[in-house]
Amino acid sequence: MGFLKTATMFAISAIILSGCSGSSGGGNTGGTGGTGSTPLDPIACPAADPAPALKSCTATQAQITGTLSFQRVPHTSGTGASLDYSNQSYQPARGISIQAWNVATNNLLDSDTTDSAGNYTFCVDSNTVNVKLRARAEMLKSGSPAWNMSVVDNTSSGALYVAETNAIALQSPINMQVASGWDASGNLIDSSRPAAPFAILDSTYDAMQKVLSACAGAAFPTLKFNWSINNVAITPENPAIGHISSSYFNGTDIYILGMKDSDTDEYDDHVIIHEWGHYFEAFFSRADSIGGQHGLGDKLDIRVAMSEGWGNAWSGIVTDDPIYKDASGTNQATGFYLNVDDNTCATNKGWYSECSIQAILYDLYDSGSDSGDTVNLGFVPMFAVLSLEQRNTLAMTSVFSFIDPLKQDNPASASAIDTLVGNQNIDAITDIYGDSQVSNDPGISTSMFPIHAAIATGQVVNVCSTSEAQNYNGIGVNRFLRFTLPATTNISIIASKTTGPTNTDPDIVLHERGTLKKAAQSTTNNQETLTYTGLPAGTYVIEVYDYNYLDTASGTSCFNVSLTAN
């Protein structure tokens, strides 16, 4: 399998969109440790609109009230990760678009949006004889806050799922239930699995509520979940026939696995919220992550470790349940769990560890005081940093660019935060670049330091790209250097091999606040050159890597990186 550069482009796409999503206004540049570079606009958090008035029907109308519910299949209790069909229950479907139709005329009679208890009210022509109700797998709201979330079938050209009743005589109340399609023994009795899209939206509703707790008038950009009973983990991908590599966020949409007996994620609320967390990063914060395969034992690129650790922690934060579960296998009877509140991270601790990041972030949020955790900030201070300093950081996004401003914003907790990160073999964080990391972690080579090497015009710095952790997104594949220009300058950046395999393939990417400024990705052996005419004053990050380590090659390649003002 060939690994990518396009992943970088996707991350960049998300960053660009992120940069476009804020409201206008001035504000704090955020971040520390540098100057210049135009910051992004801050995320707008206006007050929420007043609650809408209750719907009242006219004298010629009949009122229909009712409750929309969907059947959720829970996981087995404790740390069991399988789905427990014997304990299914109906839960209110919140925030869902619902309609009443005249069966005789096929005309829409009225529409409503279910409230936080799944309730709806229709006002219809009192002469109507029979009605049918239709719940659309979408959550729409305008005003403040606003959102547009829906679930469509990627294997049916993006058709929207709707649940629909048979005709029923006009009366009130009429409740509406959407079943899972599974019986109590786990037998599939309706292959369309009707409740699945509503379960996905229910997890989304919870995620949005958590954001609203910190930003009452948040405007959520449009998001489509692509779910299908045909979605199965296959590469190369072909979403039109259900071949998706996993459940993922691609910078604009979320794709969710759905093939029974392989891997279904619609009831894996932590999985849904994890991917929604990536959407949050893209539009409310910033993630420079390049994506790719990852797990708790991996030693990851700092950008990936932060993003995936965030996704895992976020699923615990939204649900107030640190046990992440992912069911799979025959009858969805296997799977695995992870505890984002477990600080042991036995196989892997450090700033490159998704496990460490999730443990830190969840402990910052939760009110529990487990070993080494005396911090309980809650989500509001975390949102403040994610939506401002992290979004605008001059460094690549990482645990450093998040923790440093968090400590500055919450000085009373700074010492406890140092202890928290110290439990994960991370030195006290005092800057956004990771310069404070002086310990040579035995798990990685000393060549990984510094994490963002400083370079100035006229200087040469040697960095090494290595696959020693893992290809593509392992720590050390992509190396970072930073520099600040006091004025607009014509520059050249050259990476030349000093040691390594006979044929190395260095590439160079120039970033400004995570946004691509320019990339040089020729196939020339052992040298790469990037020139930029009229690079404005500001602080930039140079990313250098050996392209061969994005794929399956193994080794270490070192390059002299020079920065020249022309």
Binding site: L4, K5, T6, A7, M9, F10, I16, K132, R134, S156, A159, L160, Y161, V162, A163, E164, I174, N175, M176, D190, S191, S192, R193, P194, A233, I234, P236, S246, S247, N250, G251, M259, S262, D263, V271, Q293, G295, L296, G297, D298, E308, Y324, D326, S328, G329, T334, F336, L338, A346, T347, Q470, T515, L516, K518, A519, A520, Q521, T533, P536, Y547
Partner: protein, 186 residues
């Protein structure tokens, strides 16, 4: 898959149209191929690759599939379980569960499995692998597509029941129950 240069142009357009930022010299100089990766859910550090004995599988003929399961981390145990996701594809081998034992990082484990389709279509062989480290397990599932005969993959999918709504919108209608006041299901 998007052509890389097209994607880059798209990104540049986004920068210009969406943000109105100065981007006159912003571009990517690249002549390399690429594939797409995403920010995906966590799973076990396991890589799986496979090759089919023949890309033209035939009805009632046994097909060999060579599977390589690689542990990307030291592990106390690695197990792989093979199942067919379709009634029309059976696993010929008696053994479908492979305990692969303790693993060192990058250890590759080869499995040869034989399947037999009984109809034309696009069928899937599922591979569920579980890796255990320090008493904790993570898993990963992939599916291996087996195309039998000259079939259109899109036609082989389980039907979704797409209809056109009253206003021309494409929707997939799934059933729901209406429960009136007296609790009688309609």
């Amino acid at each position: 898959m998007l052509n890389k240069n097209m994607l880059i142009l798209l990104l540049a357009a986004l920068m210009l149209a969406g943000c109105n930022k100065e981007a006159s010299t912003d571009h990517v100089v690249s002549d390399k191929s690429a594939v797409i990766s995403h920010t995906m859910k966590p799973h076990a550090p396991i890589e799986m690759s496979y090759s089919l004995e023949s890309k033209a599988a035939a009805v009632n003929e046994t097909l060999a599939i060579d599977l390589i399961v690689t542990a990307n981390a030291d592990a106390d145990a690695l197990d792989a379980v093979l199942t067919s996701l379709d009634d029309s594809l059976s696993i010929v081998d008696a053994n479908t569960r492979y305990p692969l034992g303790p693993q060192h990082r990058n250890q590759q484990n080869s499995i040869r499995v034989h399947v037999k389709p009984v109809a034309e279509g696009l069928f899937y062989l599922n591979v569920a692998a579980t890796l255990s480290q320090n008493g904790k397990s993570q898993s990963r599932s992939i599916a291996i597509p087996v195309k039998v005969g000259n079939v259109n993959p899109a036609k082989s999918m389980k039907p979704a029941g797409v209809i056109e709504s009253e206003n021309g919108e494409r929707i997939i209608s799934v059933p729901a129950r209406a429960i009136p006041a007296e609790g009688r299901q309609e």
